[in-house]
């Protein structure tokens, strides 16, 4: 299911990449305290490409995704830079941000039940988004487009579903409807936040296939957030492993999962059951991830790391290139002279 990288010069020129995130920081502020949840995340998403953010809960992967769309409002302070085709998104005035959201960047949230207004018919929720973004000018056109979109996401009976309320649909159908809304305005970047976690196992594969199909059809770049190594492996593309609000390893999925460089990635993979390997061989990482807001000094993984060096507890290693197209934030991963990775 690996997505094809188009050999188009624009795809390699990062200044016009659909999405470029540079040194993103997200800090939740309340009256009593502020908590750093994302701490300097950088990556580039090219046209038609898929980027996976893989990590445990609390690693900051979902927050990274939402920070790109600036969904937290005044509850979070977002630093660094997020550009789409070279245009800076952070600090955009509200009207421009609104036309961007759902227009150029769309979100597929985790739980389709929560993502739909329970009191509105599916069709009317689609039509509303089409209207807000000026995609369809007349009511009839919007309605027609809504049914087309529902058919496009593999809903067999688009007319009936358009007239249904969310509670009348199955979980899988609901997620298809949510995806239809997300792709309704032809976004350049589609952010999928664990789009299959709330669904039955049998439906999960269908939904992932649908996302790949839509991506291939329109060349949308997909940023997928997941905690599931299996999903990451199936989906391919690039992968970014997150731990305690930082990107600790990045590279092509097959390479990162095949030959991990960061001890955390290795630990994650070792904790997976593999066919043919005796159960006793399954190892889990010692300890548990630090709670958000209580990240240790130095490398956040050092307390759990079997290969930690004394310096790891003092200095947080930067994400550096360790091989062509691969980066890791660990001195162990890179025996040679550390070389700051160009963003």
């Amino acid at each position: 299911m690996t997505t094809s990288l188009e050999k188009d010069p624009a795809a390699t020129d990062t200044t016009v990449a659909p999405l470029q995130v540079t040194d993103l920081t997200t800090t939740f502020v309340s009256r009593h305290r502020s908590v750093d949840v994302v701490r300097g995340v950088s990556f580039t998403l090219r046209r038609g490409e898929t980027m996976m953010l893989l990590g445990e809960s609390g690693s900051g992967k979902s927050v990274t995704a939402r920070s790109i769309m600036q969904l937290y409002g005044s509850a979070a302070k977002i630093g660094g830079s997020v550009t789409m085709n070279g245009r800076e998104l952070l600090g955009l005035p509200a009207p421009e941000l609104r036309s961007l959201r759902g227009g150029q960047v769309a979100l597929i949230p985790q739980d389709p039940t929560g993502a739909l207004d329970p009191l509105r018919r599916i069709g009317s929720q689609l039509v509303e988004v089409l209207g807000v973004h000026g995609v369809a000018t007349t009511k009839q056109a919007a309605r027609r487009r809504a049914e087309e979109l529902l058919a496009m996401v593999g809903i067999p009976d688009p007319k009936r579903v358009a007239d249904s309320y969310p509670h009348q649909l199955s979980g899988g159908m609901r997620q298809r409807a949510v995806i239809a809304i997300a792709v309704s305005c032809d976004p350049q970047v589609l952010i999928a936040d664990e789009p299959t976690t709330a669904l039955d196992v049998t439906v999960q594969a269908q939904i992932l296939e649908l996302i790949v199909e839509l991506q291939q059809r329109s060349g949308t770049a997909v940023l997928m957030v997941t905690h599931d190594v299996g999903v990451a492996r199936d989906f391919g593309g690039r992968i970014g492993v997150m731990y305690a609000g930082r990107l600790v390893e990045e590279g092509p999925a097959a390479q990162v999962l095949g030959e991990p460089r960061h001890p955390y990635t290795s630990g994650l993979l070792a904790a997976l059951p593999t066919p043919g390997v005796a159960r006793g061989a399954l190892r889990s990482i010692v300890g548990s991830p630090p709670p958000v807001g209580a990240f240790p000094a130095g490398c956040a993984f050092a307390p759990r790391c079997p290969q930690a060096r004394p310096s790891c507890h003092e200095q947080d290693p930067p994400l550096v290139t360790v091989a062509p197209d691969r980066a890791a934030a660990c001195p162990v991963a890179n025996p040679g002279p550390a070389q700051e990775r160009a963003a």
Partner: protein, 314 residues
């Protein structure tokens, strides 16, 4: 939708049946001998027997109940002991007045409750939120007659702003303005307690809805804050209706104090006056009619609920 309303109607029938039994029991638990109290101490044994026969009091209770139910269903609610007249027209007139007062109070309660609830939910900190919370807490704890008395002291007696009793000015034209002037104080009094309860419930319902995923999902689709809020408030309507339905019962019960204080000629005042005169047929008819109105109003609320929320009419 029609099926849903139909089911609700069917469900109301056993409830009404139960209501009639409870009312009948309150008639039967009256201590003392009704015949003796009607005839007085001078009644001869023959007169006693005749009256007992005429009232059907020597029949077994189930028979008496059926007879009583038959009378009630045909609109015969008995005769007032104190006024020596038919109870039915008296009670129905009073019910109209009570419904006017209750409707006005309901409007005030919902507007005030929703405003305070939304304010305290959306601005969790700050003096206004605290004030709103305190107001909600006090209004659910305060006895209604004392609110009424306070309003009389300050707004009516002190400032002379509003009339303190009755429904119309005896020398007035009986027009709408006159009614409105008389209505305002009792309606505010009756509304305060339900307003406090609605405010508290609405607050938690707004917080619930605002923490729901679809608010974020809608924002992520590029909807303006105003549009998102329209969705959010739409989603608070079902729970608002539930609370409002419960509060109708409180309103219909609570008006007795308000009517007593403001001499509003409704069911409450009628019942209050009948207590001092021990005019039980009027009290029972008043309670019966209030319960009936309550059941009907709840049916209306249920129907509205089904109209707003597709999930429950399934």
């Amino acid at each position: 939708m029609l099926g849903y309303v139909g089911r609700r109607l069917l469900m109301a029938i056993p409830i009404l049946f139960g209501v009639s039994i409870v009312i009948f029991i309150t008639i039967k638990i009256i201590p003392g001998d009704p015949v003796a109290s009607l005839l007085g101490p001078t009644g001869s044994p023959e007169a006693r027997a005749a009256l007992t026969e005429r009232l059907g009091l020597n029949e077994p209770w189930p028979v008496q109940y059926v007879t009583w139910l038959g009378h009630t269903l045909t609109g015969d609610l008995g005769t007032s002991i104190a006024r020596r007249s038919d109870v039915a027209p008296m009670v129905l007139d009073a019910l109209m007045n009570t419904l006017i007062l209750s409707a006005a109070a309901a409007v005030i309660a919902i507007v005030l409750g929703v405003a305070v609830g939304a304010l305290t939910a959306l601005r969790r900190t700050g003096i206004l939120a605290r004030l709103g919370n305190a107001l909600a807490l006090f209004s659910i704890s305060v006895p209604q007659y004392s609110i009424g008395l306070l309003l009389i002291i300050y707004l009516a007696a002190g400032a002379g702003l509003f009339p303190v009793s009755g429904m119309y000015n005896p020398n007035g034209d009986g027009g709408f303005v006159d009614l409105f002037n008389h209505l305002i104080l009792p309606a505010v009094t009756a509304a305060l307690v339900p307003a406090g309860i609605i405010a508290r419930m609405f607050r938690s319902s707004v917080l619930d809805v605002m923490s729901m995923d679809f608010v974020e999902a809608l924002t992520s689709r590029g909807l303006s804050h105003r549009r998102v809020m329209v969705h959010a408030f739409h989603n608070t309507v079902p729970s608002l209706l539930t609370v409002a339905g419960l509060q109708i019962g409180y309103l219909l019960g609570g008006v007795i104090f308000v009517e007593a204080v403001f001499a509003w000629p409704g069911i409450g005042l009628l019942v209050y006056q009948s207590i001092t005169q021990r005019d039980l047929p009027v009290i029972q008819a008043g309670v019966l009619v209030s319960a009936l109105a309550f059941v009907v109003l709840n049916l209306v609320v249920d129907a509205l609920h089904g109209l707003v929320d597709p999930r429950i009419r399934a």
